[in-house]
Subunit: 742 residues, 2 copies
């Protein structure tokens, strides 16, 4: 599947995002090779590689974080300047024609092509980029210049530059006004056709090495010193001839190895042994296997099938699973949200990996487990004697939210993470992982709920929290939070019981010292959890007071007032019945046992009317739940909006990076919404629906060591076991035993 | 009455505060004359004379203020260096003995005296300071050096310095880390024995002129240039002889006059015509009249009578009533809270002026009226189509709170200001002022409540507000807020009706365009105001959810954990039943009709148990209400704690400035608590009590053009009309007609 765009002065940064090349470890925005142009947000990032910066609070109260982590720009290796007869190529110049930017999800290559109508004759200029899935340290960049009728000199300058800064924009209050320089040069060198810069962040003390090798069909080689090296190549280009430059760039960092410089040398040797062409072949091979295993085939009108494939390809590009990284809100495609990891990772992105690539899902969970010590510290800051509270936004574990009402107060992130661990267990059956890491996370998060909430009048109440909906902050008994906490508490007790029965409880006992009384208390709190129903409206109230608040006729507001958070004071939003995003609807989707179907339907309609969807995390949830409630028209419409959110730039800020939660939401809508695939402790259930206008779909997934494929069309629903042992599955009201066809 | 202290290395800044000299316009901290010493917070301030500085938010949302006002240090004229035989005087040196710092509330002078055991003989060094009540621009400073047995040279250097900065302390996160320089020099000059510097603030564009004249018994005169001038005087001092320096300093500013330099010249001429000695005489005369008119005589064990007099003297020093200033949280005694005006002014300080110096009370209200345009703008920022919302903290009208949950969300400040306007009307009967300014403020604040609240199920609800208790933020239907809003709404309707009946409604109609429908809506909202009672506990709930929150065993916490806000995250405090300060108790005190006496008593006990009194605004309210509820032991204890709060530095931060709210709270406890003096629309009521251990008290006050004095002793209660027309007063259950004794 190929996505194609043309570029112009207004969409440069959007192109940079949509066509960035990444592989979960390394991400390079598709910036103009010739260097900075107005509107560009040039950058390359290593997942979780960050600097530390101060947070300035207008009024600093106890426990407010004093610093935060921010994703660091790493050395720039994407700059290649092409000069013909003394005139330089510029992708935005009036002389370029046939501008075409593509990404192909089958080859894993991004290609930028144009015809340069040089005064002395036309040439075709083609840049090809790849971030290797085979060797994640590798970024490959190729230039090919084909003369149509140009005859003259050609010069190519291709650089490696450690002197980079993060993006700044003095006109945008949401972005740093002054460019942040994260790196200082440690060492640099040229060794034959390879150049290397080694840099260290000033405050976080992380080291990155960037080693580049290039070969060109013209004579030349590396020059330079300090943080900047340039390869210069010069010669002559005649009609029909072609000049090529191949650049192989290896990034390594001290989060993942002891000696990044040495590791870069080693990986470069490996890369060179294989060669660029072989790595390009392997990229294609990797993606063929991945698509077979992970990508639903959708027979529906374009651009939907294309968009879905694009979205999932971007999830693959964005997500780290090496245990020290996960998926940031913008993946590796931009600096929006500063590279921070939110609940998006577990609730929105995780299911895709869980159901198709569980080994990667495990990597994401390992990342959280490794942050437990910081989460314990965070809980202490919040006045809790026990337990762990994961920060609302983080890279390396410290809270990076500078506004607690819509940040730290979202305690639900603990339950969201616990939910992912439990889902991992239910889907994979991997009890060993639960024994080693999962149970510890579940116990520490469950403890947090006991500290946070309290029993009154027979109910377990959780006061002063913020649910997912950030237009309603610091309220009591948020329905989503309470429902998720209940799942967390029950799950913790369940995994403890299961480990005990399997004789595998030693690790969690050693790590947490959890007692039988605590296990009992988890169950008691879960049992008594306050989850009320508003009898008058027949819905689940978003929190104790939401339904008493003043209605807001938001549909009468001018379009320019949206998103409301950019035009209304938080106190205005908080005192009205207005939602930024799905909250109670998400609770009903993830925890359907908390309300009967009638309540869920009425709640859906009620919250749909008061939700602006100003958050990109919202429409996908409404779409998914609509499918579950049988409103397939709404489901399809929401799914389309979700799947095309970045491709159509419908939130207007794709330039800052992809919306990974929405990308994941598209999968959620397919898996949970349309296919009705769900796992709980008692096993797998499948309950598919097919919206009007779709011919059908076919969805591969993994469950407890087995491979399955669900195929749905107007005439038929087929669930196949393509590998593994027989399996009992609940389909609608029936239970069926699947056996692998011979 | 005289207060005396000695000084040492540890209490320098506390001495500076307690003995600062001020007059409502000008305030000079009692800093070491010889110049900066460690621990000192040197400063001189003009009420409301401010600079503008940026606010840096960790995460800036819509409507967050981008700048704030901050009180500016004005030129330093308190520096006088004394040198004997080449050795300089230092108040903290081991050579000083008999250190005595006094302030005398009858003379209005602060005197610092010590004996300097100079190696060449002893001298007595006496500094006298005065901020004139007669000519508020004047600061007078005198030095007297008396030789006991010293024989040698004497040199005096006395300076005027426009090059000053605000206080900074890199070790205290609550104070600016870098000294802020607010002033830039505009011009300076020496004219015979007068020197002058004229400076302008950089961003707020205000001008201050400081003109100093000095005369000395030694020969010498001014020298210098730029922002720094020094008078040098030299000669010989022999045993038994005395050297004197008299310094007259005039401050003027562009908030109050068009040409501060010219005005300083004019005022200096006036000052010199009168002479320092005459101004000192007039200071004493002014204070004698003031004390007769304003100060309760208290026959109770010391230090109570002394402390009360000190407190009220400080209120006189702190409060501006020129219409461009009021009283800051720290008065003119320090830079704590940056010179900002809060609700303290109207609820805590205002009653003293209202009941004893109503012309000054009117000045305080005029200040608020002049800020109405900014308050309207603030309401628009908060999403209100109509009405005015006064900022939580301000100098010139813009919101200076950088943390809205404990700042801007305290909408009750509108009702507090409205309460002061209504009380002014009830106490003075000044309908003309209500026609001119009061009604406009009442209508605009009442409109704000209509915008903020809404009707549901027959109740008028006000959601997402913070009451006075800052340990409970952004809640629904805070009892105090709703009660105060009800008073505001009713009062607005009442004043409109009264003005209409008197044919005086034109000004308010022109200013606000208020309609009959709005007037009706004010009354409807007031009538339907949600003011629930918790039937189980028999108390008024602080808000809709306070009583459902988790109890906190705060008495078990170590003393070092207090104030809790410095040791616990706001989210911890918000989710517990814990109060920083009086809230519902204050509602019952100010609006006793909102709950019956039984409910008030039970509420008092309930909230007393959950209130830490971490705020200096708390104990005085509990003391006053205890007196009203007949618990006189508690009332006396609380009153003692209140009256001595700064003198004993019981909050540990008197160094940053006086706690003017607590100073005013001491008067509130006397007037409203013990004397039981209260005015409402229907007139004056007096209902005094006398705690055990007190012989009695005598309290002068003014009411509707009359002078009265209430005298209470164990045997007798006497209410005298000392001037004015006969008056009907409710005393306890009876109504009595007072006639002036012949």
């Amino acid at each position: 599947m190929k996505i194609t765009r043309t570029w112009n002065r207004d969409n440069i940064a959007q192109i940079e995002t949509l066509f960035h090349t990444a592989n979960g470890y390394l991400g390079v925005r598709n910036a103009p090779e010739e260097g900075h142009v107005p509107g560009s947000i040039r950058g390359a990032y290593i997942n979780a590689f960050h600097e530390i910066v101060d947070i300035h609070h207008g009024e600093k109260l106890f426990g407010f974080p004093e610093t935060k982590q921010t994703i660091a720009n790493v050395p720039d290796a994407q700059t290649i300047r092409l000069t013909l007869n003394g005139k330089s190529y510029a992708m935005l110049s009036d002389e370029t024609a046939d501008r075409e930017q593509t990404v192909d999800t089958e080859t894993g290559l991004a290609v930028r092509s144009s015809v340069w109508m040089h005064p002395d004759g036309a040439v075709r200029v083609i840049f090809t980029r790849m971030a290797s899935f085979e060797i994640p340290n590798l970024f490959l960049l190729r230039l090919r210049v084909e003369s149509v009728d140009y005859d003259g000199t050609i010069a190519i300058e291709s650089t490696l530059n450690g002197d980079v800064t993060n993006y700044a924009n003095a006109d945008d209050p949401r972005v740093a006004a002054e460019p942040l320089r994260c790196l200082t040069l440690v060492s640099s060198s040229i060794e034959e056709d390879e150049a290397m810069v080694v840099c260290r962040t000033l405050r976080s003390g992380l080291t990155v090495a960037c080693r580049a090798m290039q070969g060109c069909s013209l004579p030349g080689g590396w020059e330079g010193e300090g943080a900047l090296f340039a390869g210069h190549y010069e010669g002559r280009l005649r009609p029909g001839e072609c000049v090529k430059l191949n650049k192989l760039v290896v990034y390594t960092d001290s989060l993942r190895c002891g000696d990044p410089a040495e590791e870069a040398r080693r990986v470069m040797r490996e890369v060179r042994t294989l060669g660029g062409n072989e790595l390009i072949r392997r990229q294609k091979k990797f993606l063929a296997a991945w698509q077979e295993r992970a990508i639903p085939q959708l027979c529906a009108p374009e651009p939907l099938p294309q968009a879905l494939t694009y979205d999932l390809y971007q999830l693959l590009q964005s997500t780290g699973y090496d245990g020290v990284s996960s998926v940031a809100a913008k993946g590796l495609s931009g600096e929006g949200y500063e590279g921070h990891v939110f609940w998006d990772s577990e609730v929105y992105v995780f299911p895709f990996f869980l159901w198709t690539q569980p080994e990667k899902a495990r990597g994401m969970l390992t990342y959280r487990w490794r942050l437990l010590p910081a989460a314990r510290e965070n809980a202490r800051t919040l006045g809790m004697a026990k337990g762990a509270l994961f920060p609302w936004r983080t890279i390396s574990g410290g809270e990076c939210s500078a506004f607690f009402p819509a940040g730290t107060a979202q305690y639900h992130i603990d339950a969201d993470i616990a939910y992912a661990f439990l889902q991992y267990w239910y889907v994979t059956g991997d009890l060993a992982f639960m024994a080693e890491m999962g149970a510890e996370v579940l116990v520490e998060t469950a403890r947090m709920w006991l500290e946070l909430g309290h029993m009154q009048d027979g109910e377990f109440r959780i006061d002063c929290v913020t649910g997912p909906d950030e237009y309603t902050c610091c309220v009591n008994n948020n329905f989503y939070t309470n429902a998720a906490a209940q799942y967390n508490l029950r799950g913790a007790a369940e995994v403890l019981r299961t480990l005990r029965e399997a004789g595998l409880e030693q690790t969690v006992l050693g790590a947490t010292g959890v007692t039988g009384e605590e296990e009992e208390a988890f169950l008691t709190a879960a049992q008594a959890m306050r989850l009320p129903r508003d009898e008058r409206l027949g819905i689940s109230p978003q929190d104790d007071s939401f339904l008493q608040k003043k209605p807001l006729d938001w549909k009468a507001l001018p379009k320019t007032d949206f998103p409301l958070l950019l035009h209304y004071h938080p106190l205005f939003l908080y005192r009205h019945q207005i939602c930024k995003q799905a909250d109670t609807v998400l609770a009903h989707l993830l925890f359907p046992d908390t309300a009967d179907i009638g309540t869920q339907k009425k709640s859906y309609d009620y919250y749909d009317a008061v939700t602006t969807h100003d958050s990109s995390l919202s429409v996908c949830v409404f779409a998914t739940q609509a499918a579950r409630l049988g409103d397939l028209a709404r489901a399809r419409e929401g799914f389309e909006a979700t799947a095309t959110l970045d491709l159509l730039d419908s939130h207007g800020n794709t330039k800052d990076g992809l919306h990974t939660a929405s990308l994941g939401g598209a999968y959620l809508a397919m898996l949970r919404g349309f296919a009705g695939i769900r796992a709980e402790a008692d096993g797998l259930s499948v309950d598919p629906v097919l919206p009007e206008g779709w011919e059908g779909y076919s969805l591969p997934f993994a469950f407890r060591g087995r491979s399955l494929r669900l195929t749905v069309s107007a005439g038929e629903t087929r669930l196949e076991l393509t590998a593994g042992e027989p399996l009992e599955v609940r389909m609608g009201q029936n239970s069926v035993l699947l056996i692998k066809a011979e």
